[in-house]
């Protein structure tokens, strides 16, 4: 007489539930997370997240990339020597890389010019990441106007992404931007020329520091741009082993992709030794 095990009649779902390997809390947490964001995803019909193109970084981010319906902050960090960063050219490059990866459409770029010493984004360089004809440049004289323009942009269906350059840290404005981004599924980026106090409701916060490039052996020429990326906040993402995960990445201006520079610790002083570039 054949012996029938009760588990053979059970539905696949209950079988999975019985399976001790499947961790229920993780699945539940995932379900709740999806429910939270279901609204924004369904309404916009866009991708939930856009990968950065660097597997090591994307692995830590929720949904394998930057959430489209969220606020992201990018700040220029102090130089390795501890000096205040003299400019945020690298942070702007990283922001442009992100903007280029979000979907098609107009990019709304809001900024507050600083008068005579103003350094505006330069379109010929930005064309490495996206077509500058897609840019809608807005200059505001007050921070309130800047946040208002960003919020209006987030509500517009034709806008692919909104970027605001400001030093102001307004918690209310940050929350409003975050909500508008979530509701419309349009990413909002805040680009800061200097580190800001960590108080806003952003999904991710990046700190970008310009890193020395690699010259051609035997020459003193400037190599391709290298940045030290620090993921200082990762709200829905996977926790990483390090407190603030950090990578040295290189922007290849010929293949138009970011790649982590492989590095090994060299000697007890811990100086970075860069080998040949892989991937």
């Amino acid at each position: 007489m054949p012996v029938i095990f009760p588990s053979a009649f059970a539905s696949p779902a209950s079988r999975a539930a019985n399976d001790p390997a499947a961790s229920v809390p993780a699945a539940l947490r995932e379900k709740v997370r999806r429910l939270e964001r279901a609204n924004s995803v369904q309404r916009s019909g866009r991708a939930v997240a856009v990968p950065l193109g660097v597997p090591a970084i994307d692995a830590l981010l929720p949904e394998g990339g930057l959430l489209t319906g969220a606020l992201h902050e990018i700040e220029a960090g102090p130089a390795p020597s501890g000096r205040v960063a003299s400019h945020d050219g690298a942070a702007l490059g990283f922001a442009a890389h992100l903007l280029g990866r979000f979907g098609p459409g107009t990019i709304l770029w809001c900024r507050r010019p600083t008068g005579t010493f103003d350094a505006a984004p330069y379109a010929p360089a930005l064309s490495a990441w996206f077509d500058p004809a897609r840019l809608l440049m807005v200059t505001a004289s007050r921070d309130e106007d800047l946040f208002w323009a960003m919020e209006e942009g987030l509500r517009c269906p034709g806008i692919a992404a909104v970027l605001g350059e400001t030093r102001a840290t307004d918690p209310t404005a940050g929350r409003r931007l975050s909500l508008a981004a979530e509701k419309n599924g349009v990413p909002a980026l805040l680009l800061r020329a200097q580190p800001a106090p960590p108080q806003s409701v952003c999904a991710t916060r990046w700190r970008i520091v310009s890193a020395p490039s690699a010259s051609t052996p035997g020459l003193r020429d400037v190599g391709t741009a290298r940045w030290r990326l620090e993921l200082r906040r990762n709200r829905f993402g996977t926790p990483s082993a390090a407190e603030t995960p950090s990578w040295l990445v290189e922007w290849n201006d010929e293949t138009h992709c970011l790649a982590v520079v492989p590095q090994t610790l060299h000697g007890s002083s811990g100086t970075l030794f860069e080998e040949r570039l892989v991937g």
Binding site: F117, A123, S127, A128, L135, M137, C156, G158, P212, V222
Partner: protein, 492 residues
């Protein structure tokens, strides 16, 4: 008579300083108020208030009280009644309303502006102020010749000759009159009698598209004003649809009970006749309007219209040319932003074929033609590495170089020393000799154009900069290098 003489005669004389500017403003305000009767309102060019001080004025010259307004009410009187009764009612209404505001005025109506002008100033009886159709010849015959708006010398001669009434000129032979006094007297007579056309130049050109809404009771709440605007807009949009146009500029005017007028306008970058979108633009502006003690009349007009193309273009998108144009709302967003921030603050970037880095990128208004697809890619391919930020004005830096023609080893910018570890360059960019200089002159053909040598450098902190040397390295007579160094941008 001088003021001192007058005071000597009458010590307790009350004097009030004349204020021609204030008079001007008052006349302007009354003219604006008169838009309620007709859009075709002109300030009488011969009115004293508007004549500049010291300028010779005509027969009725002077300040203040002599100011006049000309209203062309053709086609407007039927609102007050049929035929002549309507004309009389309009005149009575105008006088009554002005009198109620303590403005003393005399208003006359005639077929021609000249006749009305003469009647308003010189008619002796109240009944004469209204001149029935085609009755101007007899109506002004008994008026003094001052009513002809003649220049002072001609007028004096007329009076010396005993020509005191306008009617005295009717039987005069025309040729001798012209020989003696020039064209003016007969021209004025012909204009007054309607033999010669005299167009009135309106203060504000009446727009072809306008709608008005008068209220039985004055309104003041902003919700009411918004609702009224919405109704006006709906009516105007229907007019647009019938005419096949869209608005580029819309103006709304609130006529307040105290006689003043408040106006505001919105502009769009494309011809637009989409009622909800225009209403959204208006909502931004309605807050600026002040209803005062109440609004009794609102007029919405479109001073600028354009043929409606039917669709609105989105910003060009190379990656996905299939994006439905016009439905994505980008243009409407730009309009809304431009309304609050100013049109010059909402721009798109166009590329320009130029060698000079600061000339490559041009900010253009949203309404301008979009850049050709791929224009930027072409520009970017032509150039070497470019900075992600370009300083609006290159900033001078102090440099130290081991060998004069080499890239610098240290540069100081904003009091920070940057030790240069790596450098690329030079990339020589010459001035564009085919372009006139800023002062309009052209550089002489024989001279070498000024050049800049650009270097991309990296300091020991990893910061990348874009420096240039202004001209090739040369030594001046005193042994100092002539070339100066500037920082022009920041690289990624």
């Amino acid at each position: 008579m001088r003021l001192a003489d007058a005071r000597a005669l009458l010590p307790d004389l009350v004097t009030i300083a004349g204020e021609p500017q204030a008079d001007c403003r008052l006349v302007e305000a009354i003219a604006g108020w008169c838009d309620r009767y007709t859009p075709w309102v002109a300030i009488d060019p011969l009115g004293g208030a508007l004549a500049a001080e010291g300028e010779t004025t005509c027969s009725a010259g002077g300040f203040g009280g002599d100011a006049g307004l000309l209203l062309d009410v053709t086609g407007c009187t039927h609102l007050f009644g049929e035929g002549e009764s309507g004309e009389r009612a309009l005149l009575a209404d105008l006088v009554a309303r002005l009198t109620r505001r303590d403005l003393s005025c005399r208003a006359a109506m005639a077929d021609t502006a000249g006749a009305a002008w003469a009647l308003a100033r010189f008619a002796e009886r109240q009944a004469d102020l209204f001149c029935p159709a085609r009755g101007q010849r007899s109506a002004i015959a008994s008026l003094p010749v001052e009513g002809l708006r003649l220049e002072a010398p001609i007028l004096e001669t007329f009076l010396k000759l005993g020509l005191r009434r306008i009617g005295d000129l009717y039987p005069m032979p025309r040729a001798p009159l012209v020989r003696r006094f020039g064209n003016q007297p007969l021209e004025r007579v012909d204009q007054a009698l309607g033999r010669l056309d005299e167009p009135i130049e309106p203060r504000r050109v009446p727009p072809a598209f306008r709608t008005r809404l008068a209220f039985a009771e004055p309104i003041g709440r902003s919700e009411d004003i918004a609702a009224a605007t919405s109704r006006l807009l709906a009516a105007l949009c229907r007019q647009f649809e019938q005419a096949g146009v869209g608005a580029r500029l819309l103006e709304i005017a609130l006529y307040r009970v105290d006689g003043s007028v408040d106006r505001t306008s919105i502009g769009t970058s494309r011809p637009n006749r989409d009622n909800p979108k225009l209403m959204k633009l208006f909502e931004e502006k309605l807050g600026e309007l002040d209803p005062g003690f109440g609004v009794e009349l609102m007029i919405l007009a479109a001073p600028e219209v354009e043929a409606w193309s039917g669709t609105q273009d989105a910003l060009p998108d190379q990656d996905s040319p299939t994006v439905a144009s016009g439905t994505d709302g980008t243009i409407d967003l730009a309009d809304r932003l431009a309304l609050r921030l100013g049109a010059e603050n909402v721009v798109r970037l166009l590329s320009r074929d130029s060698h000079l880095p600061e000339r490559v990128q041009v900010a253009a208004a949203i309404s301008s033609k979009p850049a050709a697809a791929g224009a930027w890619r072409r520009v970017a391919n032509l150039k070497g590495a470019r900075p992600t930020r370009l300083l609006q004005r290159p900033e001078p830096v102090e440099v130290t170089a081991f060998v004069p023609d080499d890239p610098p080893s240290v540069f100081r910018w904003r009091r920070h020393a940057h030790r240069i570890v790596r450098a690329d360059g030079p990339e020589r960019i010459a001035d564009e000799w085919w372009r006139p200089r800023p002062d309009g002159s052209r550089p002489p053909a024989s001279t070498l154009p000024p050049v800049r040598d650009y270097y991309r450098v990296e300091d020991d902190d990893g910061g990348r900069f874009w420096l240039f040397r202004d001209g090739p390295y040369k030594l001046a007579a005193n042994g100092q290098p002539t070339a100066r160094w500037f920082l022009h941008g920041f690289c990624a």
